[in-house]
Each structure stands twice: as structure tokens, then as C-alpha cells.
Amino acid sequence: MRERAGSITHDESVTHPTAAAERSPRGERTLQIGAFYNPHLARDTLDAAELFDHLAMADPPRADDRYFAAVKERFTLLLHDYLGQLSEPYDAHAIQRSRELAALYDSPWVAEHFQCLHTEDGRFSLNYVFPPLYTEEFLQRFITNATLLAARLDRPLVMENIPGFFDVAASTIPEPHWLTRFFDATDTGFLLDLPHVWIEAAFKREDPYAFLHEFPLDRVIEIHTGGITTDVDLDAPWIAPTAPNDAMLDFTAHAVAVCPRVRAVTFDAFTPELSSDVLIEAVTRVRYRLGC
């Protein structure tokens, strides 16, 4: 069942951490909880440093970011920039940039996306999430180019799932199967974006829990969680810079419990419109729900 998308409700029904621990047994493993680094909230992030084990970096630090040195000193930083698209091989410029950013952050892994959003001739770009066709040709392209990229990085590569909003008949392989084959053929980890799974399940009118279990969960290294609201242009649920609601928190706790190698959960919101209150509330609720 898909919960009606909407902003978070400040109810009193948040599960007790003990219950979360019982429902999400983690043994001796350490689960890191973090968020994206939003430079306009740097001071608030540092003031609440105990909430954040890591920060994902979607943009390089600006030269005028007076907080970045302290942020880098205090938190584990994860490289999660736009680096390129693996439908084509990275060029030397992109590889060099990836290596330099990973070194700057000392990122334990480097994230890239299953997406193909600009044309080969450079004329058209969507600038935002758009998955490749799930075909044999694209599978081989991504396997080849991810393998090439991973060989040039000095740290592991993880790949994030990207949702579609409409069916294309030419996509002949179901996305979870395509991803499973990709991970089987490469030495990369899976960055499981739960809101992406959720909205795609809504689009397909499938149960998100059942859909989740079609993905190769044994390959998950990092999980993204976040808010979902109805977008006015899509007239459908989509990712939003809001705190995850109770349904998404339950979904996150379930995913953590069934992903044996997961090491980090990240609140996925990166926008100048994100407020400090939402950031703090979101990470606090994630920690509380996961018993961390």
C-alpha cells in the first residue's frame, strides 16, 4: 500500500528506539547516519554535529565557504557529485576531477548514478534524474564504463538507482533485474535510494515493499531516505526537501534490516530551500527510528 504523499506530520506515533532496534537487528555493525552538506546550513550542521556521522557532497566546496574546513575536519565526507554518465566512458577531465574530489574529501566510496541525461552531441540535457533504457546494450555500456572508472579510482564505486516516470517499450529488462546483472558483473556497491523505489512503485501501482525486494539488496552499501510530496507539475509523488514521514521511516528501517552490508543511511535533501529545522528534524527522526 502506498501512503498518500504529503508533508511530515508531527504526530506522537514515532516508534520507540528499542522497538526500532528489535525490528532492525544490526548485530555488531555500525550504521552511520548523515545528510547532504548544504553550505547555507553549514553553521547549523556544525552546531548539531553529534547528529551527523557523515555528509554527502553534491557540489565541490565554494571558495567563499568559510565553514568547509571545519566541516571536513569534523565529518566523514562522501563524494556524491555529478561526475559524468556511464553510458559513455569518462574522459580524462572527469576522471581527474573525480579523483581530486575523492581525495579532497577522503571519501570512503564514490557515488555515481544509473542515469543517462544528456545527448551524445551535447545539444540536449535534462540536468536531472533520467534513467537509461534498460536494455542489453546499455547494460554492457554501464558495465564496461563503470569497470573502467572503478579501476581509476582509489576507492570503491557505488551506484544509485534512478526512477523513471513513464514506461518505454524499448526497455526490455526490468530495472531490478538489470541492476542485479550490473552488480553481478562489476565490483561496485549499491546506493539504494528508497524514495526513488517508493515513487517508482507508486507509478507502477505496486507495493513498495515487494518492489524493494526485487532489487539486489545484498549489494547495498548506503541507503538514501527522504521526504516525498505530491509535485504539482507531475501530479504525482516525488522527492522533496522535507523530512521523511512515518511511512518512509518504516520503509527505511525495513530496508536497513534486510540489507546485510549497509554502512550508512543518508537523509537526501540538497537545496538552498532546505531549512535548518527540517534538516535537524529529519536526521533526528531517522536516528530515532533506526535506534542509532
Binding site: 547555507h40 553553521r43 567563499d64 559524468g84 554518465q85 553510458s87 559513455e88 566512458p89 569518462y90 574522459d91 580524462a92 577531465h93 572527469a94 543517462c116 541525461l117 544528456h118 545527448t119 551524445e120 552531441d121 551535447g122 545539444r123 540536449f124 540535457s125 535534462l126 540536468n127 536531472y128 533520467f130 537509461p132 533504457l133 536494455t135 546494450e137 546499455f138 555500456r141 516516470f165 513513464f166 514506461d167 518505454v168 517499450a169 524499448a170 509535485d231 507539475d233 507531475l234 501530479d235 504525482a236 516525488w238 538552498p272
Partner: protein, 278 residues
């Protein structure tokens, strides 16, 4: 002969979302618009839910320009604490809704239209400082010059700038005159974004004629430089026929000065440089 690979089909799908006139032509059955696409790919595009495509295209377009407006109009955004008028709010207006159904993402014409929309929105703000109009023009120029096809991947290295290099101005440059010294103002405005002290009025600027060059690199990085008549004259002598040592001689400048200037201009995309073998 149009390519028939899955990659070519992906390009067609990307264009379907990025190019509103192309979408219209497809739905209207305008075969002339589809000549670059194999018939089997056109059939795939036609089979996709047009309603879903229209909604996703609008969503993508709004996000595309939201990112650019938030970035390029960040100085006007900083002023919003006094003007109470945020640039990105222009993207949630009926005029924008109408525009999004016509845009081609990445085209300079569409960037120009969106810039005009944002400028019009900001021009209505109250309590704007006297340099606000200059600031809007400055920000719009950046957004417009950023648009256009870009190089995403390239194995070509930048040509070395030497005395025998031949250089010519790029089409991706814009020179504008301003009444205010904007480069001196901008850091103060950015600092105001995170300055919690209650400032009763916006930062002051110095009124002095200021000429700026806006340039775009092949990878679409935008650079703004102070410009001058002497630099403009020097650039005009880089006409695509003369070696830089001849440019230096014509300008009466030492070779190394001209090479240094040319290196900077080439790096920001203001000139195209060609190495000429001896």
C-alpha cells in the same frame, strides 16, 4: 542515415523531454521534424504516454531553470532580505507555466526568455537599491551566455598558447557596460546571505562606469572579467589570421604580455586558439 542504436533512441527520448517544439511536432505528426530519427524510434516515442511525457517535461524544465536561476541570480536572492522578492519565485507564476510549454532546455533563446521573466519579476520589487537593475542585467547575462550546446566529453587537450598561435574571438562572449562597480559589490552581497546582524538597508555600491566581459568555456563554465577599451582593441586584432607575435607588434605590447592575456582568454573560452606549425 540516422543511428538506430539504443543510445540513439535514448538521445531521442532526451530530446523529447528537452525540446517542446519537437514534442509538439511529434504529436502533430509533422514528419519533417522527425527526419533525423529512424522510423522505429519515432514509433517508440509516439507510444510513450503523452500525458506522462508532458508532465515530466514540465517538471524537468522547471527544475532545470530553478537550478540556473538560483545559481545565477544569487546576488538578487541575497537582496531579497530587503526587497522581499526572490528570483526563484518567478518560476511559480502563470507566465512561467506558459513559457515552460515552449522552451528548449539549453537553448539561448529559451534562456533569454526565462531571464526576461525573472528580470520582470525582480523589477517589481520594492525597496530595491539603485544598482538593482544593473545587477539583474549582470545575472541575466550569465544565464544567457551559459546556454548552448556544450562539450561533455573530450579527449582533446587545450592548445598551448605561443607566439605563433593564431587566435580568434569566440561567439560565446558578451561585453556589457554597467553604471555601477558590480565586481566590488558582489562579495559583500554574498556575505549578506549569512550575516545575521540586522542591516537596515542593502550594501552600498560605487557608481562608476564598468565594462565586463562574459565568456563561456566549451564545458559551459561562465567567467566574468573586467574589460576595457584596450583589451577590446587587442581582442579585435585577434582576427583568426595573425599570429600572437604579430598581434603584440600591432598593439605595441611585449610578446609575453599578449601571451599571458591570450592564455587567460583561451582558458575562459573568450578566444579560440589554433597552434600553427613552423
Amino acid at each position: 542515415m540516422a543511428a538506430t542504436s539504443d543510445r540513439a533512441l535514448q538521445d531521442a527520448l532526451i530530446r523529447l523531454l528537452a525540446d517542446a517544439p519537437f514534442r509538439s511536432a511529434l504529436s502533430a505528426g509533422d514528419e519533417d521534424a522527425l527526419t533525423q530519427i529512424p522510423p522505429e524510434h519515432a514509433a517508440v516515442l509516439r507510444a510513450v504516454s503523452p500525458d506522462r511525457v508532458r508532465r515530466f517535461a514540465r517538471f524537468i524544465a522547471r527544475g532545470y531553470y530553478h537550478e540556473r536561476v538560483a545559481h545565477f541570480y544569487r546576488y538578487s536572492h541575497a537582496l531579497a532580505r530587503w526587497t522581499r522578492c526572490r528570483p526563484v519565485d518567478a518560476l511559480r507564476t502563470p507566465a512561467c507555466d506558459a513559457l515552460l510549454d515552449r522552451v528548449i532546455l539549453g537553448s539561448r533563446d529559451s534562456a533569454h526568455d526565462v531571464a526576461a521573466l525573472v528580470e520582470s519579476h525582480l523589477a517589481a520589487a520594492s525597496d530595491a537599491p539603485p544598482y538593482a537593475a544593473d545587477l539583474r542585467r549582470y545575472e541575466s547575462a550569465q544565464m544567457i551566455i551559459e546556454a548552448g550546446p556544450r562539450v561533455w566529453r573530450s579527449s582533446a587537450s587545450s592548445p598551448a598558447i605561443t607566439a605563433t598561435t593564431i587566435a580568434a574571438p569566440s561567439a560565446d562572449i558578451l561585453v556589457l557596460d554597467f553604471a555601477w562597480d558590480l565586481p566590488a559589490l558582489l562579495p559583500t552581497l554574498l556575505a549578506a546571505r549569512t550575516d545575521d546582524s540586522a542591516q537596515p538597508s542593502p550594501p552600498r555600491a560605487t557608481r562608476t562606469p564598468t565594462q565586463l566581459l562574459f565568456a563561456r568555456s566549451p564545458r559551459a563554465r561562465v567567467t566574468v572579467m573586467r574589460w576595457s577599451d584596450s583589451l577590446a582593441h587587442l581582442l579585435s586584432t585577434m582576427d583568426g589570421t595573425r599570429a600572437l607575435r604579430d598581434v603584440a607588434a600591432a598593439a605595441g605590447l611585449p610578446d609575453h604580455d599578449v601571451l599571458e592575456i591570450a592564455s587567460t582568454l583561451a582558458e575562459v573560452g573568450a578566444i579560440h586558439a589554433t597552434e600553427v606549425s613552423q
